[in-house]
């Protein structure tokens, strides 16, 4: 145990690279019932306006018993549970892959999370290594809510520790359309696009199309800290100005998921009928975001996907790019050498469900 822990080792300073082995199962602490209180806070934090998550009546018209909790809120809660066990000593959150959203979470449902270590690879500097985990979020009935892979660079406790055998999992480039999950009770015959705020449905989007989401949102220190505590994410870089003032950036770093949620909320202006996140194909937190930064976003349609067995429902594979302090009317992304525009902070590849005509 680290020298920072108390005698008796009742406190945890998190796992180091040496503590992970392929095949290891981690059951993460603190089951969490999500409620309309969490949903209200989420609205206050991001201003999201997707009708399915805002209105019980809109949801009931689609066969659901209530407005489901925002998909990214469920994601952040599952992610937060993994932090004390997976990434408390992480140097960087490197990527996501193969993320599938399963059953929607409704107010009153309880989320739990488990992870399996599926890869480890020591870095050549011998001070850090990469850990791959598949995390499984379930509801109180054990049904899958979310399933995704992420990989993180984690500090070693001791550079002299022997390197484990390298295992790097093979990961899908994207979740195939045939594997996307559609909420079983969903019946889109009652879908009201007027109420949802846009006439643009699946047929109106084309591969390669780019959409500027127009608006920008400035982040305050209190806002990202409230959000990240709501998710019970304990990474100290987000909360402790006293320690971070001596750290890499001199200040608290905003949880990358906060930026994902902001970008999603901004994307309402252009994607109002994309009512459900179905997959997280990949993503990169390209640059750090700090309080005072204003986040803008644009999206590209990577693919329009038909869903077998669902005539009134399609999917869009999207790349959403978020920037800081730079509007996205000209779609900033990468230069010819592949380097990101310096304003880009998020490059997210995900799939949404959207109404078809």
């Amino acid at each position: 145990m680290s020298e920072r822990t108390a005698p008796g080792a009742k406190t945890s300073a998190g796992n180091f690279f040496e503590d992970f082995r392929v095949g290891q199962e981690l059951r993460h602490a603190t089951p969490r019932t999500l409620t309309t209180g969490d949903a209200a806070l989420y609205t206050a934090l991001y201003g999201s306006r997707f009708a399915l998550n805002c209105s019980d009546d809109f949801a009931r018209a689609l066969g659901l018993h209530a407005a489901p909790i925002d998909d990214w809120l469920a994601f952040h809660v599952v992610f937060g549970k993994t932090v004390p066990d997976i990434s408390l000593n992480a140097v960087a959150n490197l990527g996501y892959a193969g993320g599938r959203f399963g059953l929607p979470i409704f107010p009153g449902d309880t989320l739990e999370a488990r992870s399996t270590v599926i890869g480890v690879k020591e870095n050549s500097n011998r001070k850090t290594g990469v850990v791959y985990v598949r995390t499984h979020g379930t509801n109180q009935r054990g049904e899958t809510v979310l399933d995704y892979v992420r990989w993180v660079m984690v500090n070693k406790r001791d550079a002299a520790s022997p390197a484990p055998e390298t295992v790097v999992p093979s990961l899908p480039e994207a979740v195939p359309a045939a594997e996307l999950l559609v909420p079983p009770d969903l019946d889109l015959r009652g879908y009201d696009a007027d109420a949802a705020g846009s006439a643009a449905l699946w047929e109106d989007y084309a591969q390669g199309e780019r959409i500027d989401h127009v608006d920008g949102m400035t982040i305050e220190e209190a806002e990202h800290a409230l959000a990240t505590r709501l998710y019970q994410n304990t990474a100290r870089v987000h909360f402790n100005q006293h320690s971070e003032s001596k750290g890499r950036f001199g200040r608290r770093l905003i949880y990358g998921g906060h930026v994902i949620s902001l970008a999603r909320a901004l994307s309402f202006n252009g994607l109002a009928n994309a009512f459900r996140i179905a997959a997280l194909n990949g993503g990169s937190h390209v640059a750090p975001v700090f309080a005072g930064d204003t986040v803008y976003a644009w999206s590209a349609v990577l693919a329009t996907l038909e869903l077998p067995r669902h005539k009134d429902l399609g999917a869009l594979r999207l790349r959403t790019i978020a920037t800081k302090n730079r509007p996205c009317g000209d779609f900033p992304y990468r230069d010819d050498a592949g380097a990101y525009d310096p304003a880009v902070v998020l490059d997210l590849d995900y799939t949404v469900l959207i109404k078809r005509r």
Copy 2:
């Protein structure tokens, strides 16, 4: 569409003066279920203490099935829905009139909003015009929750566009007592003034009386942004420091409704038994408010109103004045020439229901 929108016009940059015509009906997006989560946030944002909105048991003693959502919270949610369609390109929110609060909203009820354009008038500068709308907020059963007129100054897309025929609606100075709506199940025999925090009932207020609400509340950037996102109000002046830093004030402007709610919460000290907003007769956001400002308030009793058919219930027509960074012990208002005291930020004319002996 504006040059800021993406190809394909899936995003909206809001309506301009030319887009409005008298008689036009606008159905606003995103139905919104209000919950105890919204109520808790509202308490955290303003610290309001009116017993009816705080206690299910207090509400049940009056014949209601639960504590209703604060009336101004319902107002802000209805107002917020209108912003993308009415005032995204507004230069100024000019006034309110003829506002009536109908059925209370309870946790679980869903608000929707529609507006009718009832007047247009181009300004002599030809760059802007005034648009008058009557907005109608309903619950999930289509019952009226709120009905009010507001008028805003909106930019023209093109100064060269021809002026429409001027139509200026005739508006009431105030909602008459006979038209005030009382929640149908309300039975004040179980009213507990001790629990509500004051012995002062309708008979204790006199026309012309002035009440200093004593306390002040400082507003933080995160607070007004959380509030305004909670209301899903999308006016960029409230959220985008990056663009506002180059704007009129160099900083984000606080949503005027935030100040209304603060003034209402402060007015508990002096009006604890004024448990329900019945009418919004008029109002003016006299000066901008910014983060760091401290809001104080005082009220004048404009009229004491008897309600036909309600022996145990009366109404007070109030003028509540909010100031910034100036206590209200000497009731700052207007000078002899009619100019507002420079500290005044809000001049609100509204009617409350209050217990009679």
Copy 3:
């Protein structure tokens, strides 16, 4: 009444020392229904992770019908109600004693509070006096939720007023184990320590043991103001920067209870199975805390207590020390002369219930 109140005396400027007499009963205003909305906000404010308060399913496995509201949230709401009557003119909150937590509060329960004045003692400067009150918090069925003594130093309205007869109540050093209340339906056979996040149970703690809670949390102005308004605590020092800029510290003072809740949340790392606060034996807000400060905490086990009639449940009497801007790895407390380390802000003596093997 003070000169700050309006004509007609409908507003209150709070009670002064002369207004209190031994035996006086005060019924505090604004009954308050606590909801899952309050619980979500509490999580967002402190990031607490105790499983019993986070998961309905964890709570049901222990025989409760839902996750109870965090004990300190219930405390703060009761405390907040007393402020307008007890401590609006307080110079300092001097101490707590004999606090017992009774029935847990569940979402939907309504809190009310009453206080009895049990002691008064004028100070020798004749400008202030100490008032002792026993406050009783109840639910909507009149059942006890919380019962505690606090004493405050309160300004006199007039230094020339005659001193009352001094009455100083005798107060217990701590609540004895035999008087601790255990929720009646609690059945710990279904307790899942893995889900709760730690294997350390009652038997693993020893008298004299010290635990560093490792993490630190920085407080923003918006956060403590949101919290304190949520508790409907009206003490102006927490909210009014305009007046406080001319006051003792030049800025808003953070409500001491906010620091208690932060310390409790931090104590999860080391005390994850201490699922319930049973007693508040004493406490002192040693130094003021301001926005921007980072709070750390450590705890000492003052006693391990067996509970008669509860084989699977024990108690720990704890001293939790919170500091500002100073990690607690070396357990900062008092020097040899008894003076607090300058970083200490809270010295709290309380008793928790914890699972036994």
